[in-house]
Subunit: 346 residues, 2 copies
């Protein structure tokens, strides 16, 4: 009998197929290939800096010039930005509709000077540095009073909208509104907090550690787990064990722990699933600032940041767009077993 | 400057790229091909009835036997159902999680005895009959007290999760819960109704007819429009002009009008976009029944059923899963222009 499970945070129901659960080898996906034409230069490679818009920030050797070689991580504006950084929000109504100018920032975080998909994930200091750069950008963008949220995400593989440049990079979109999915989680965790006076994510973590069926990894003060209401086969979340709303408040030590678990999680998933297509997204609290009139915005301390890794293995997902109803052919408990097996066979 | 638009019903923000808007010819998608191996029989063709599970219902010539030729529309259980029709719901908690048995029905509505993608959409009486069959199934499933909702949808094309049988068919999933997206619309339209004492969809229709920028077609008492907050390029909704919560309360005349506008809409979209991949989904009110204790469930008369047609032309959509933030490169006003041009050039 399949199971209908209710997401405790946002109340979404998911169908989990408990019989004939799909194994890692049951999924087929197109091999990702380097689709950059051989006579074209990769705009993200060291030496090709002139092929991107001028850099916003770079972690580079001292005495190297901006937009020249010598960098390890580089942040550039998107060449086809969805949002503009210049202008006023001009929020207004048009009869029954509401709109505002598409103010925001759309940036590309080039994670390594080296081409190809493998260079980055094997290099732990580079992952740590990238985490620092993300935090740096978030803190910088927080100063812009027009902006409310920074979306950090990575699309890998064609079916995941990953584009055709096989050079490790993330995207950053800073927006003047909080994305709907994050807002739903904020509302859900606030409701729980109001009722229980505890963080729902903290309670979930405690229960998951206790049940020990869906926790794939524990590293320092972080864990990687396959959530009870996984929408996708092998969906994996990384969370700090210690309560924390904002990604950008991590200490140096926490950045090390986070980078380590991120590396091990991706490594385990790739060993289990192969070179799989995925979306990764960071969920963190919206910007909270002291308002001019001297009070704080009413976003409480009841959120808990986390990373969602969503493998795109199934095409069954067609109608989910229109219904919000997910069908997952691999129970998270099974996914976790496979991931643990790979890990323990090391 | 791109525009951020807020969906008036559920409050979702969408980025609409107003400059360099993408035209129909800017989208490339894989040609759909008949991927049924030549030596395999199509299970949905007349004469191959034994290849599906026994039929649940069929519209067939009198004096023909069930599961034999002579039918025009056939409803069969899915061969790989996501939900089981037999059993108890057994809703219960598992510490902080909630779950229930995956009770429900998963059916395939074979829309025509003829193979290939074109046979169905050109045949108006067949569309009318299919609409009647959908209504019949909805009314039948409504009798099952365990069920709350009937999801009717169609996935066409590989990227839309359409499977590999190029024989026109819809899917039906009856569930013991209301899908999240529909619930959000119910909540949003109730909030508007409580405030304005009017249906938000009716107000939207009135405004759209008045503005005349996004209404693609008007046929009898139905319209096809490209919604102000379209998530996808060329997203199109079909709505009854007259307020109505439930799809299954249509009269004979309304079924005729609906079938006509559905045919013209699909025809116009195919002429504009080519043989494009899509998801279609019906949004209608959940089942409302008189409860045993003598009162009605508190779902008000404030909803308005509609069909959402979502072309799957962009792969940009990667991170939307995790953020609920949509980016649409074709403003609905532009989409509507292209659709109207094709229509008027007839």
């Amino acid at each position: 009998m399949p199971e209908l499970r209710k997401d405790p945070i946002i109340g979404r129901w998911v169908i989990i197929a408990t019989e004939r659960a799909k194994r890692p080898t049951d999924f087929s996906f197109e091999k990702e290939k380097d689709s950059l034409s051989p006579h074209k230069k990769c705009p993200f490679c060291e030496g090709n800096e002139s092929l991107t818009p001028p850099e916003i920030y770079a972690w580079r050797k001292s005495r190297t010039r901006p937009n020249a070689p010598g960098w390890k991580i580089r942040v550039v504006p998107s060449i086809s930005p969805f949002l503009n950084i210049l202008g006023d929000l001009d929020r207004h109504g048009k009869r029954m509709y509401d709109l505002m100018n598409g103010i925001g920032s759309h940036e590309v975080l080039i994670a390594t000077p080296h081409h190809g998909p493998d260079a980055f994930i094997k290099d732990l200091p580079q992952i740590e540095k990238l985490t620092e750069v993300i935090i740096k950008r978030m803190r910088e963008l927080k100063k812009d009073q027009r902006l409310k949220y920074v979306l950090i995400f990575k699309n890998y593989g064609k079916v995941a909208g990953g584009g055709n440049i096989p050079h490790e990079h993330l995207q950053l979109i800073a927006t003047p509104v909080t994305p709907k999915r994050v807002k739903e989680e904020l509302v859900g965790s606030k409701r729980y907090f109001d009722y229980k006076d505890r963080c729902i994510f903290c309670d979930m973590i405690r229960q998951e550690l206790d049940q020990n069926e869906r926790v794939f990894l524990e590293v320092d003060n972080f864990l990687a787990l396959n959530p009870y209401c996984s929408r996708f086969p092998f969906e994996t979340w990384i969370l700090p064990r210690k309560h924390s709303c904002d990604f950008d408040t991590m200490t140096k030590d926490e950045i090390k722990g986070f980078s380590k678990i991120f590396q091990l999680t991706m490594d385990g998933m790739i060993k289990t699933l192969g070179n799989f297509p995925y979306n990764i997204i960071l969920h963190t609290a919206p910007f909270r600032r002291r308002k001019k009139k001297g009070y704080w915005e009413t976003i409480e301390n009841d959120y808990h940041w986390h990373i969602e890794i969503m493998p795109r293995l199934t095409q069954v997902a067609g109608f989910e767009w229109g219904s919000g109803f997910y069908i997952n052919p691999t129970p998270p408990e099974e996914a976790c077993k496979y991931l643990r097996e790979v890990e323990s066979s090391e």
